[in-house]
């Protein structure tokens, strides 16, 4: 949306005498926050639906008392944030929250970052007028990471809301507390809203929504982040330190391509070991949501590296004779540029499988659409009201793409179509208007044809497309039923913004070129716009910066990857390198944004930059001296690292690094698309290259709180037919793996992870993400 358009839709309201511009339909609370006006609010979460649990956000709008978190602004509205009555209500509400709240602030993990404390002080509660007998409330460990202390819980429902509206697991809910009922006489004697709030509070408590004692959820920890008190904390963090002792280092999470903004929070390891250690990862939870890998997978640093001169000399020699550099996407833009420079100077070949596949895909896209980058970023996906996902296992590949898909359902009264060969039990629960298609492997083109049939203006379509558009046949082929027509009509009601998320399955697809053609046609002839999920952390940056090679033979250097000489941040290589939490630099994320990350932990060894400097006269002192050199012709900007911001403004605008510029180029007309061939579908035993949730690479694997194994994942039903340990026979090799059940998988396709780089999974799978294999007992 252009800025002009945005300004035209603006209305103006007055809050406490201050004139504020706002978008039509915005909540009063958000407008106030964007304009630095303070309204107390406990239960509201930006980007989620208001729950009206706390009622403390009362304001007077045009003379009427409303809840600012769910009352929308109207043009010319006059808002007053405090009146004597509102103050009375608020104070009573805070007094009620303090009733029976354990006096354990001294040990509580919130350690002063407590909203209950803050508002108690803000509203000057120095006396208690209410009381009620307490109920026994037990503490529970809900999962490997979640610790819930019901005694501290103020039932603001923020955890429930974020889990439902943002994460999509809906793993927790409010349930009966079983406490004594309120004295009815209070109804007349105490402030009205405070009574209503207390009445509800007294009856409820939070519990896993599946009826058991365990959440069995994605373990993202977002509920921990949003909890205003110390009721929900990470089990690993609990009682280990106080918030005020921790140093916050703004960074970018380096596990997946979402590149979320995070803070590494550090302090010395112990009394005897004064080296800094990361105690936890926090985030600006109003504006960005993390997944379990980002939140709990932080201790992947290369701790004991030293400056080993001998190893360094050997490394320089190795680089001199190297013919190939093999690397992963867990790399900064600056380092990628260094590798590219080595290629230009010495002609080494650069191998990065996942980035190469994505690069080819982007190149096709550029060829046919004339744009170097896909149309939407994922913020825009989140603001759409119809979202389609194709070619990605949404739950595993990219948590934030999944959050966007879910959030659209919950917040924008949206609808969603999910196309994937591997059945998923979670996605259909995102909303009533989510329709999933479990199609055959290889039928991705048919999906795009169906989308063109559903959304495109048929006038301008090339004949080769037109003749393939047989709606009923396509629906049936993809596994839809006869009710599709009716369902789809319902889904389409009042929809305006359409987003298509595509993922790695399509980049590793034998018909990638034809797929890009179809995507471009869809974009051109329909309101559907595409957003792509780069396969791994910085695949987008690498794809833009490096000229990658397809195949290479000869003496290989592995940078965090297999090779004859290995430079590794995992601490097991021939030369040590800094891990992502030990270095500064920039990453390019799926939001088409170049974001900075900073040093959280010290590193005492050599870096790639040291080697490159030894090889060529770079005239640089630090890795970040390369930041301004990132290729402008590819959309980067020539700016200094130190000038890059990393945060969010009060109104939620992202103020991190900069956005890549989309470079326009000549468009190649699409004359013809291939005829879709049903028979390319794979059948038999199929494996899918896909990581379990929270596992992305060797670094998540190294973190002690992430324990998902390198195993064969199967749906519960499929697992029954397999033995405990199996051999998977590929065309070019075998793999022996344990069988694990993924409760949320459905169907017969099994998943083999790729997060361990030394297992050479990419070699086994070759140019596709799916392979036909033989699975047999050991």
């Amino acid at each position: 949306m252009s800025n002009r358009e945005a300004v035209e839709n603006m209305i103006s309201v007055t809050i406490d005498g201050k004139e504020c511009k706002a978008k039509e339909g915005e909540y009063i609370l958000n407008v106030a926050r964007a304009n630095d006006i303070f309204i107390p609010a406990l239960c509201y979460l930006t980007r989620c639906s208001p729950t009206l649990a706390c009622r403390i956000c009362l304001v007077e709008a045009d003379g009427k008392q409303v809840y600012s978190c769910n009352a929308k602004v109207k043009d010319g509205m006059e808002v007053v944030t405090t009146t004597p009555n509102i103050l009375k209500e608020r104070r009573a509400i805070m007094e009620v929250y303090d009733v029976n709240h354990p006096l354990q602030c001294g040990v509580c993990d919130q350690s002063g970052e407590c909203e209950l404390q803050n508002y108690t002080l803000e509203l000057k509660v120095d006396e208690q007028s209410y009381s009620i007998p307490d109920t026994k409330r037990e503490t529970k460990n809900w999962s490997s990471v979640l610790h819930y202390d019901a005694g501290l819980c103020i039932v603001c429902e923020r955890c429930v809301t974020v889990c439902k509206d943002m994460i999509g697991d809906s793993a927790i809910k409010t349930t009966k507390r079983g406490g004594p009922a309120l004295d009815k006489s209070l109804k007349g004697s105490m402030p009205k809203d405070a009574y209503a709030m207390w009445n509800k509070l007294q009856k409820s408590i939070i519990a896993p929504s599946n009826g058991t004692d365990y959440t069995n959820c994605s373990d993202c920890g977002e509920c921990i982040a949003v909890c205003p008190v110390g009721a929900l904390v990470s089990r690993d963090f609990q009682y280990t330190t106080n918030a005020w002792d921790l140093k916050k280092i703004p960074a970018t999470c380096a596990h997946c391509s979402s590149g979320c903004q995070i803070y590494y929070e550090t302090k010395p390891t112990s009394i005897s070991d004064r080296r800094e250690k990361i105690y936890r990862v926090t985030n600006e939870w109003n504006f960005v949501s993390l997944c379990g890998a980002g939140r709990f997978g932080y201790d992947f640093e290369n701790r004991d590296a030293t400056k080993d001169r001998e190893a360094f000399k050997r490394a320089v020699e190795a680089f001199k004779k190297a013919e190939v550099i093999n690397f992963t996407s867990v790399i900064t833009n600056e380092e990628a540029l260094m590798l590219q420079t080595l290629k230009e100077k010495f002609g080494v070949k650069l191998i990065n499988r996942e980035a190469r596949a994505f690069q080819i895909f982007l190149d096709f896209y550029k060829q046919y659409s004339g744009k170097s980058l896909y149309s939407l970023d994922f913020k825009e996906v989140m603001s759409s009201d119809f979202v389609i996902s194709l070619g990605t296992s949404l739950r595993n590949d990219n948590p934030n793409a999944r959050y966007a898909f879910n959030n659209v359902q919950k917040m924008n009264k949206g609808a969603g179509l999910y196309f994937h060969p591997v059945g998923d039990k979670l996605v259909p629960t995102f909303g009533r208007n989510v329709l999933t298609f479990t199609h055959k492997v290889g039928h991705e083109e048919a999906v795009l044809l169906l989308l063109i049939e559903l959304f495109s203006d048929k006038k301008d379509l090339p004949d080769s497309v037109k003749e393939q558009l047989d709606r009923d046949k396509l629906v049936k082929l993809l596994g839809g039923d006869s009710k599709f027509e009716a369902t789809f009509t319902k889904m389409m009601k009042k929809k305006e913004k359409f987003a298509l998320i595509v993922g790695e399955d399509l980049y590793f697809h034998p018909k990638a070129k034809n797929i890009v053609k179809l995507i471009t046609i869809l974009e051109k002839t329909s309101p559907v716009k595409v957003a792509m999920i780069p396969p791994k952390t910085n695949s987008l940056g690498v794809a833009l910066i490096c000229e990658l090679d397809d195949e290479a033979k000869g003496y290989t250097i592995g940078y965090n990857a297999p090779g004859d000489f290995r430079v590794s941040a995992l601490g097991d290589g021939d030369l040590d390198a800094p891990a992502m939490n030990q270095q500064e630099g920039t990453l390019t994320n799926m939001h088409k944004r170049v974001t900075p990350t900073n040093v959280a932990l010290e590193y005492n060894g050599y870096t790639l930059h040291d080697i490159v400097k030894e090889l060529i006269d770079t005239q640089t002192t630090y890795t970040i001296d390369w930041t301004p050199k990132l290729p402008v012709e590819k959309g980067f900007k020539s700016v200094d690292f130190d000038s890059l911001p990393n945060g969010y403004r009060n109104d939620g605008t992202e103020h991190r690094g900069y956005l890549l510029t989309t470079i326009e180029s000549e468009v190649q007309e699409i004359e013809e698309v291939d005829r879709f061939d049903e028979s390319i579908a794979l059948d038999g035993d199929i494996v899918y290259r896909c990581n379990p949730q929270r596992q992305f690479n060797d670094f998540t694997d190294k973190a002690h709180q992430i324990f998902e194994e390198f195993a064969l994942y199967a749906s519960p039903k499929r697992a029954e037919t397999l033995s405990k340990r199996v051999v998977v026979e590929f065309d070019n090799g075998n793999l022996e793996l344990d069988v694990k059940v993924d409760e949320r998988m459905e169907g017969d396709i099994v998943a083999v992870p790729d997060f361990k780089s030394d297992r050479n999974i990419y070699e086994l799978f070759g140019a596709s993400r799916y392979q036909k294999v033989i699975i047999r007992e050991v």
Binding site: G106, Y130, S131, I132, Y239, T240, N242, W244, D245, S270
Partner: protein
């Protein structure tokens, strides 16, 4: 006290007493006489006798006036700020420190460090606590801020040691469990004021 008395400088009208001083000898002969009489009077022996008597009293009659440092120490004011002590709860014997970290935070020379963890009884356990006495300035802030009166200043003012570190671990400061009965309630800096009860309002309880 008024200063009036001191401002009156008229000798004779005040309460001064004149000492009866003899006049100094005037002639050389008188001076000579004074020297001879002072030299041969037994006054010297009286002085020596006093010393001898006190020595005998001290050595044989146990009537000593000096403090037998280091075997004896003078009592010290509760407000004196010497090496810290970590107190225990008298009832249970458990250490009082709850591991809140306020002392660590307030410490002006940043010399307190502690380790805490979630223990088997779901409590915050203080697994180690230390003060770097090489840097402590004995300001007393830690004792004042401590909500549990767990860390207090004790009376151990001799801080000469081969290593100051030998005062500084949790177990060095903690009241030994067998001396629990001897543990004194702290009266010094940061202790509860005698009228504390008058300054609080009771929270209603529904029991």
């Amino acid at each position: 006290m008024s200063l009036e008395k001191f401002k009156n400088r008229n000798v004779g009208t005040q309460n001064y007493k004149k000492l009866d001083l003899t006049h100094p000898p005037k002639s050389a002969w008188c001076k000579f006489k004074q020297v001879v009489s002072r030299t041969f009077k037994p006054e010297l022996c009286i002085g020596l006798w006093v010393t001898l008597r006190e020595m005998i009293n001290a050595l044989f009659r146990k009537k000593m006036h000096t403090t037998q440092y280091p075997f004896e120490k003078l009592p010290i004011s509760p407000r004196y700020r010497a090496i810290h002590e970590m107190l225990r709860l008298l009832e249970s014997g458990h250490y009082r420190c709850i591991g809140c970290g306020l002392c660590e935070k307030i410490c002006i020379s940043n010399c307190i460090a502690m380790e805490t963890r979630y223990d088997e009884n779901q409590r915050k356990e203080v697994s180690e606590y230390t003060i770097n006495f090489g840097r402590c300035i004995f300001c007393g802030y830690c004792a004042e801020v401590c909500p549990e009166l767990a860390i207090v200043h004790g009376g151990r003012y001799e801080t000469a040691s081969e290593q100051r570190a030998s005062f500084s671990l949790f177990e060095d400061m903690l009241t030994p469990i067998d001396k629990l009965k001897l543990q004194q309630e702290y009266q010094g800096f940061g202790a509860v004021s005698p009228n504390a009860d008058d300054n609080i309002k009771k929270t209603p309880l529904a029991y």
